[in-house]
């Protein structure tokens, strides 16, 4: 497993070698904070909380994480560096983990860059710091699951556009399963337990608890196991 380190290091630093990373960080920050201010009414809600920032994350991630994840393997396949990587003395799992963890760390940086908002809330009022910490944790865990899905779809094709579209579709399904509007429609035709079962596979269902400051092991396990499962499929897809 020691071979994860050089791959991680190369990938993580790689983000900052190109302008794409800075563009991404700025877009991410503007979109997430912008939604919180203008749609979520961060100030007018008159509450010292970041709820209006975090509620949009499942929807925001739907586009922004595929934008990061689509190139993970597609790019290596297109430029042929995959041949270089897989003739170095490392296993497929080590390569997958190294790349995934680097992208996850990068996304965590993007998410944590909004910390000045928390500081503002702390300055203006008296927010519940437990809720804020839980929300950050939930958001980062959820980002990992999105990224797992995107890493997998990107291993399936060398075309980044296809990779992006597949990622968005796969993530969209995982979000919609728990969307109240969709569940409302579903409950008209299915019994309650079936609707609950479907909703249980959604990002939104599991993320909501975090934003209320509830860190339920069940939700943590959901995100981690979804991530683990997609990475496992990722290894299988690459070794095929």
């Amino acid at each position: 497993m020691s071979q994860v380190t050089p791959v991680f290091k190369r990938e993580f630093l790689g983000y900052f070698r190109s302008p794409v990373a800075y563009v991404f960080l700025i877009v991410f920050l503007m979109a997430s904070v912008g939604l919180a201010f203008f749609v979520g009414q961060f100030f007018r809600a008159n509450q010292a909380s970041l709820e209006s920032y975090f509620t949009f994350h499942p929807w925001l991630f739907l586009f922004l994480i595929p934008a990061v994840g689509m190139r993970l393997w597609s790019e290596e396949k297109r430029t042929g560096t995959v041949e270089l990587l897989f003739t170095l003395p490392l296993t497929t799992l080590e390569a997958v983990l190294g790349k995934f963890l680097a992208a996850w760390a990068f996304l965590s940086v993007a998410i944590l860059l909004s910390f000045p908002m928390a500081v503002t809330a702390g300055y203006l009022g008296d927010p519940d710091w437990g809720v804020i910490a839980g929300s950050y944790l939930g958001s980062i865990l959820m980002a990992g699951s999105y990224l797992g899905v995107c890493s997998l779809t990107s291993a399936l094709t060398k075309n980044q556009v296809i990779s992006f579209v597949l990622s968005v579709l796969a993530c969209l399904v995982l979000v919609l399963l728990g969307w109240s509007v969709f569940n409302g429609a579903l409950s008209a035709v299915l019994p309650v337990w079936a609707v609950d079962l479907v909703a249980n596979f959604s990002f939104v269902t599991h993320f909501d608890a975090f934003t209320k400051g509830i860190i339920d092991p069940k939700d943590v396990v959901f995100f981690l196991s979804l991530t683990g499962f997609t990475l496992f499929l990722n290894v299988v897809a690459l070794e095929r």
Binding site: K9, R10, G14, S18, G80, L84, T87, P89
Partner: protein, 240 residues
């Protein structure tokens, strides 16, 4: 050192490589010839563990590539066709990454390895340049430097002199010759003179099958007085 046993590769219904076997001992330089699409690169990719063979296997220093690919990859230096590399990195960063995955993590040792590889391939002047801005020949040299970095006992070079200027071609040939005493080398090429100047053995493959496996002198003696390319044409066209 390198033992190739009955390698077969199917792409769909097409047999790209059809039961190729040969052995390369320490001190041998094996020239791999064949028309475009003959299966040279595919064979090399299977020996290096990048592609898994449909049937057959290859042993490097006693390690079986289908059973223990990582052990094989440690023994090999591999220059893939068209020398893929991470374009956004500088030459020195890129070789640093290779050094780390090859297990040279101590600062001094890593720097020594990188410097040696840069000296051997005459890359010192461009060490801080990003790879994507290098000319084709320089990129090729970066690929060569990457393959030599850990001073491997076996080298597999897919068209190592492709894109080099005449001076560099001679340099690279001299370098390969110098190193070959204690290494097993397999190289593919389309330059027939290169085989005469460099190789101790020639294998010609055509449509995935080995049609010739002998010394360059014997190959020449097949049609006394004929040019090498005439002999090559006779051998590869009679197989159709």
């Amino acid at each position: 050192m390198i033992e190739v046993k009955g390698l077969v590769k199917h792409y769909g219904s097409k047999r790209a490589v059809d039961n190729v076997s040969f052995t390369v001992r320490r001190g041998d330089i094996l020239g791999f010839l064949g028309p475009n699409g003959a299966g040279k690169s595919t064979t090399m990719k299977m020996v290096t563990g990048f592609l898994s063979p449909t049937a057959g296997t290859a042993l490097v220093n006693g390690h079986d590539v289908t059973r223990d690919p990582v052990a094989v990859k440690k023994q090999l230096g591999y220059l893939p066709e068209s020398a893929p590399a991470y374009g956004e990195m500088t030459v020195e960063e890129f070789l640093g990454f290779i050094a780390e995955t090859r297990g040279f993590r101590q600062r001094a040792e890593k720097a020594a390895r990188i410097n040696r590889a840069l000296d051997l391939t005459h890359l010192q002047t461009v060490r801080t340049q990003t790879i994507e801005t290098l000319s084709k020949g320089y990129k090729q040299r970066v690929g060569f430097a990457q393959a030599l970095l850990h001073d491997p006992p076996a080298l597999i070079l897919d068209e190592p002199t492709d894109g080099l200027d005449p001076n560099q071609k001679n340099e690279v040939r001299a370098l390969i010759k110098k190193m070959a005493a204690e290494k097993a080398v397999v190289l593919s090429t389309h330059i027939l003179e290169e085989v005469e100047a460099l190789c101790t053995r020639v294998i010609i493959i055509s449509q995935g099958k080995v049609v010739v496996d002998e010394t360059p002198e014997k190959l020449r003696a097949r049609q006394p007085g004929a040019r090498l390319d005439e002999i090559f044409r006779t051998l590869t066209s009679s197989e159709v």
